[in-house]
């Protein structure tokens, strides 16, 4: 492998509390030096990085690549290409593929495809219960051996609290983190919008706050006095953040993330029945959006993920309630995160941490930072570059975004995966 020298970049590494303009030396796919060249270093490639930022490769906690099962929407190759263009080098797939990730063979299939695509380190969550049905436990130990970094029932709620409790205990036995997308099936039945003035006006079936907060409260009670690690993903309500904060104060090992679009959009956005804003959990109020931003700034929510859900065009071409929820959002994760720095809601260090070392820690992966000897997963950003996001230039196979036409500042120039350039925009 080539020896690469990245010159004069502003190296931002929140985990190691490093933020300086310096040179980075890459050798044998690893970071061989920061500031000082390793012995006998002979650069075969030099990247001039004046005025650019160098951050760890981005880690995305939740991206649905649609393979296997829904290849008409997207596949591992197209979506990891899109991820690379957005500075992402590590991503995690929830288990609700078809077939469900509840046996090692499915894990192997996904990992093999990802390896062939060579664009990203792909990890999977295993199913918490067989077929995600909430009835029998999955073979969590085998799934862990096959490479799953956690277990989850995705958006399929487990209705029986006894099964839920046992699933937690079994996961804990094998030291596996449980990932929860809190979502009560009955409280949100048929719903497609936040229960509030807009849904009432538009006559849309509503999803109340309790559809998210009741399961969180239930789970927090179930895991009291245990040492289970639980991660709550895709939060949307102000009250959820209070619950997580209280649980942390009690010493529970809980963490939380939020989807980037929840930090920028509210229920008002659906008022023209635009199906691109149809997401689950639904876009909530301005107050909730501000609470989510604050929760991030205060560290109660530690990560921002893309919650990437690419769709084929037809999936969104119907009356609002009949469309499929979700947004193709892998390419807007970094821009939407940087926008929070621009608006003063987050400082740069927290923003970068929330998409690099924090999600890596939740996944139990030694990545998302730039220490010596680390794999050279890197992202070079031009922080001043102003650009307009557009469906025309999206690489994801799903063009279902609500952000087409938004202007952003800060664009990915290069992405390196283990020292290999997987994306370059020059």
């Amino acid at each position: 492998m080539k020896n690469i020298l990245i010159k004069n970049a502003r190296v931002i590494d929140p985990k190691n509390q490093f933020d300086e303009i310096t040179d980075v030396y890459i050798s044998s796919r690893k970071i061989a030096g920061i500031g000082t060249a390793p012995e006998n270093f002979n650069a075969q490639q030099t990247i001039e990085a004046d005025k650019l930022w160098l951050i760890p490769g981005i880690v995305d906690l939740s991206a649905r690549l649609r393979e296997p099962g829904l290849e008409q929407k997207a596949d591992i190759e197209t979506e990891t290409c899109a991820a690379a263009s957005a500075g992402i080098t590590t991503l995690c797939i929830p288990p609700d593929t078809d077939p469900v990730i509840d046996e090692p063979a499915v894990v192997e299939l996904i990992l093999r495809k990802a390896k062939l695509a060579k664009k990203s380190h792909v990890f999977t969550l295993g199913a918490l219960t067989a077929k995600l049905k909430g009835e029998r436990l999955s073979e969590m130990a085998s799934l862990k051996d096959a490479g799953c970094v956690g277990v989850s029932n995705a958006r399929n709620a487990i209705n029986n609290p006894l099964i839920l409790r046992r699933a937690f205990e079994y996961a804990s036995t094998h030291n596996i983190t449980v990932f929860i997308e809190p979502h009560d099936k009955h409280l949100s039945e048929g719903g497609c919008a936040h229960e509030g003035a807009i849904a009432s006006r538009l006559g849309l079936n509503a999803i109340p706050y309790a559809a998210e907060t009741a399961p969180i409260a239930q789970i927090l009670e179930l895991i009291r006095d245990t040492d289970i690690r639980v991660h709550f993903g895709r939060l949307s309500c102000a009250r959820s953040i209070e619950l997580i904060n209280e649980a942390k104060a009690c010493g529970l090992k809980v963490s939380a993330d939020v989807a980037a679009h929840q930090l920028h959009l509210t229920e008002m956005d659906i008022s023209s029945f635009n199906s691109q804003y149809h997401v689950i959990p639904p876009l909530r109020t301005q107050r909730d959006m501000e609470a989510l931003r604050q929760g991030l700034a205060q560290g109660i929510i530690s990560s921002i993920c893309s919650d990437h859900q690419p769709h084929e065009i037809d999936a969104k071409l119907a009356p609002f309630p009949a469309t499929e929820p979700g947004m193709s959002s892998i390419e807007t994760l970094l821009p939407l995160t940087l926008k929070l720095v621009e608006s003063g809601d987050l400082n740069l260090n927290t923003a970068i941490a929330s998409i690099t070392c924090n999600p890596a820690r939740i996944l139990g992966l030694n990545t998302g930072h730039l220490a010596l000897g680390q794999a050279a997963n890197l992202c070079l950003i031009d922080p001043e570059k102003e650009w307009t996001f557009s469906t025309d230039t999206m690489l994801s196979h799903g063009k279902n975004t609500a952000f087409s036409g938004w202007n952003f500042r800060g664009k990915v120039i290069k992405t390196l995966l283990e020292g290999r350039c997987i994306y370059s925009n020059e």
Partner: protein, 374 residues
């Protein structure tokens, strides 16, 4: 009076909140994205898609966003057609036009009045009843549309179980085609609301400002109620009330400019107009109500309760009526019931909306002239 003031405050607050929200969001994003964004949020699609460049009605999808002038124009035009209905039954305004009644939800009554309205305007009418199961996905809905478009139709009258369907169709049809919403999910049923306004105007005069209107029953699932609320408020009605148990009142409905009552006797006290809504039997299943008996006991309109309204109050119902569930027979058939008038006026109002959207410049005057020359 307090209630009136309270409502006015409620209205103003809602408006201010909405504007404030846009300002905040706009203000925050203005730096990066100047105009387009705000249009998206306000829902240009939703409110302006109905009007052409001259501010004339192009589609009729929802009352929301239409001005008092348009609503009055509809009522005036309907007034002239009401005469047509009585004497000469047919006018040639839409001769050569093809109107398709596209009903994805079963309905005989509404479809019939649309059909009659179209025929009295001399249009050709095609009835399409498409069961929801045949079009569970949007692509087939669009396919259906494309096929009908190819038959050179001029107007779709659409009823569908999903809120927002009429907007979706209006957004996707060829530019010359007009769309008329005959009910979309729980969202809107604007022609029903306009025939109700027409009925109120005929009985109570054109000054809605002095009126207190109570809408009673299942507000949650009612597209009729939502459209009525918008229409009443656009026509500056003194007070609009909604009455029902908490399970049937949608959240934050006050923001639409209504006062909420959970008790019928309080809710209809001194009302000028009482609108009873139909109670669907399936509401007992979803644990929204315990039984029809208890509902009638608490929210059924009896002679005794109706006596609490103004002595000259009228009672309305969009039909079909569940006698003994939401209303007592003697009230439904009584002197102050205008329920059958509503049905009659429905044809005139639908003729008005069809002629205004499809007839280009056809206004109330022209329609009136037709009547005179006959």
């Amino acid at each position: 009076m307090d209630a009136l003031i309270q409502r006015a405050h409620g209205c103003a607050r809602a408006v201010i909140c909405v504007h404030l929200h846009f300002l905040l969001k706009g203000g925050y994003k203005v730096v990066n994205k100047p105009t387009r964004r705000t249009d998206d949020i306000i829902g240009k699609d939703l409110w302006n898609i109905q009007l052409d460049d001259n501010g004339q009605l192009k589609h009729f999808l929802t009352i929301e966003g239409l001005g008092t002038n348009i609503l009055n124009q509809i009522l005036d035009t309907a007034e002239s057609f009401a005469g047509v209905n009585e004497s000469v039954k047919k006018v040639p305004l839409l001769r050569g036009k093809t109107i398709v009644n596209l009903f994805f939800e079963a309905s005989t009554r509404t479809r019939t009045t649309f059909e009659l309205a179209a025929k009295r305007l001399s249009a050709d009418v095609l009835n399409m009843n498409i069961s929801a199961s045949a079009t569970s996905k949007g692509e087939t809905l669009l396919d259906t549309l494309r096929n009908l478009e190819a038959m050179q139709t001029d107007m779709f009258v659409v009823r569908h179980a999903d809120s927002g369907t009429a907007h979706f169709i209006a957004n996707h049809v060829a530019p010359h085609i007009r769309v008329l919403n005959a009910g979309d999910g729980r969202h809107a049923h604007p022609t029903q609301a306009m025939l109700d306004m027409f009925t109120i105007r005929r009985n109570k005069g054109a000054d809605f400002g002095k009126l207190r209107v109570a809408i009673v029953g299942d507000i949650m699932h009612s597209r009729v109620a939502r459209s009525q609320i918008h229409a009443l408020n656009t026509l500056n009605t003194g007070e609009v009330r909604v009455v029902g148990p908490k399970t049937l009142i949608p959240k934050d409905i006050e923001s639409m400019g209504v006062n909420v009552f959970h008790n019928l006797t309080d809710g209809i006290k001194d009302a000028d107009v009482v609108i009873m809504l139909r109670l669907q039997k399936e509401r007992m299943q979803g644990a929204l109500l315990p039984s029809e008996q208890e509902y009638f006991q608490l929210y059924g309109l009896t002679e005794e309760r109706f006596a609490l309204a103004k002595p000259d109050a009228i009672v309305m119902h969009p039909g079909p009526i569940n006698r003994g569930v939401e209303i007592e027979s003697s009230v439904a058939d009584g002197d102050r019931s205008v329920i059958l008038d509503q049905v009659t006026y429905g044809i005139a109002v639908r003729m008005a909306v069809m002629s205004m959207t499809l007839g280009g410049n056809v206004g109330s005057n022209e329609a009136a002239n037709h009547q005179e020359t006959k």
